[in-house]
Symmetry: C2
Amino acid sequence: MPGGRPRAFDPDVALDHALELFWRQGYEGTSLSDLTAAMGINKPSLYAAFGTKEQLFAKALDRYVNGPGAFAAEALAATTVREVVERLVKGAVELTAGRDTPPGCLNVNTVHACGPDAAPVRELALACRMAGEVALRRRLERAPDLPSGHDPATMARLVHTITDGIAVQAAAGRTREELHAVADLALRTLLPD
Amino acid sequence: MPGGRPRAFDPDVALDHALELFWRQGYEGTSLSDLTAAMGINKPSLYAAFGTKEQLFAKALDRYVNGPGAFAAEALAATTVREVVERLVKGAVELTAGRDTPPGCLNVNTVHACGPDAAPVRELALACRMAGEVALRRRLERAPDLPSGHDPATMARLVHTITDGIAVQAAAGRTREELHAVADLALRTLLPD
DNA sequence: TCAGTTATGTACCGATCGGTATGAAAATAA
DNA sequence: TTATTTTCATACCGATCGGTACATAACTGA
């Protein structure tokens, strides 16, 4: 069983570069030429290793969710509602306005990729969002310390709305420090001591 | 002074169709062919009447801000902080999840048009956002009824963050009714009676 | 050394992109 | 009518899009 010519690139770091580019320029705004240039490979190699641009994006999105975006799922393990929400909101600031990553959120960006041929990846992003929000709602539903009068579903949606807004603000150029101040105020009003 | 051949279309309704299309598909996702089809004219006529795709988008954005988005500037004239914020947040729901308009917000969409050739229109959208937020901050700075301990600048940014989040949620398919519930909860926590 | 296999580099595919040259059509002014 | 002006319709421009054919290079196993 022969081995063939070895790869001249590391698929993992190539995928990281693709993620970085999609994150910064969006799905529609990133061309195959951009990708091959950033990944240091040419188109046939890209296609052989990752498939279509759409399939490559799916892999990049998965890497995003389980890498920089993993804090969101982990936050639900916190003991108090307060801590869950705080980790979600502050984590959103770090994710979208962090120093070594592109501004904004890949998922939120993708929701706004409304072109006709971006529909499949948009569906991926929507499914991803839906899953995250259902998980948060379930967490709030079984929380004994949820403030009275707060419907878990609506509360989950409000938290999600605020993290979405943080992503937009970051994409629009708002700094990490400014957004942490916004997050602090949001937490104070949302869950007063 | 001869008159020449008359136009076979109404520039105002043509611009409305262009706005609708940009709103629904984004700047990058909308091609000139899409535009000419929706506006009922062909490319030379479009170019003669509105200029470049970029210039056409600028006109559409202006129409958006002074039409469906005019509530934002008008909300600042309300007498109480409570009413200002309520009109902004509820107005955002109506704008982005209204029945007869595309889901989402043209301005927020445009912020996420990160492709290289969308940079000029992105700058337009950013300037528009900045102006709106400065106006809200100024309004809050001279408000005697702002809750104590609330920095006007941070408060303005939080309100803007929430309306941005509402736009994302609407673009992701959340319904008008769900978003009104979210907006109600946001108002209740942000400015408790 | 020599198949067999996999990856690489180049050059190209049809389709579409935003934008335009060109000439006919439709109006006014003389 | 005739000259002038403006718009309309078609057809086309070079560039780029995502994706691929094809030949060569680099490896393993016999």
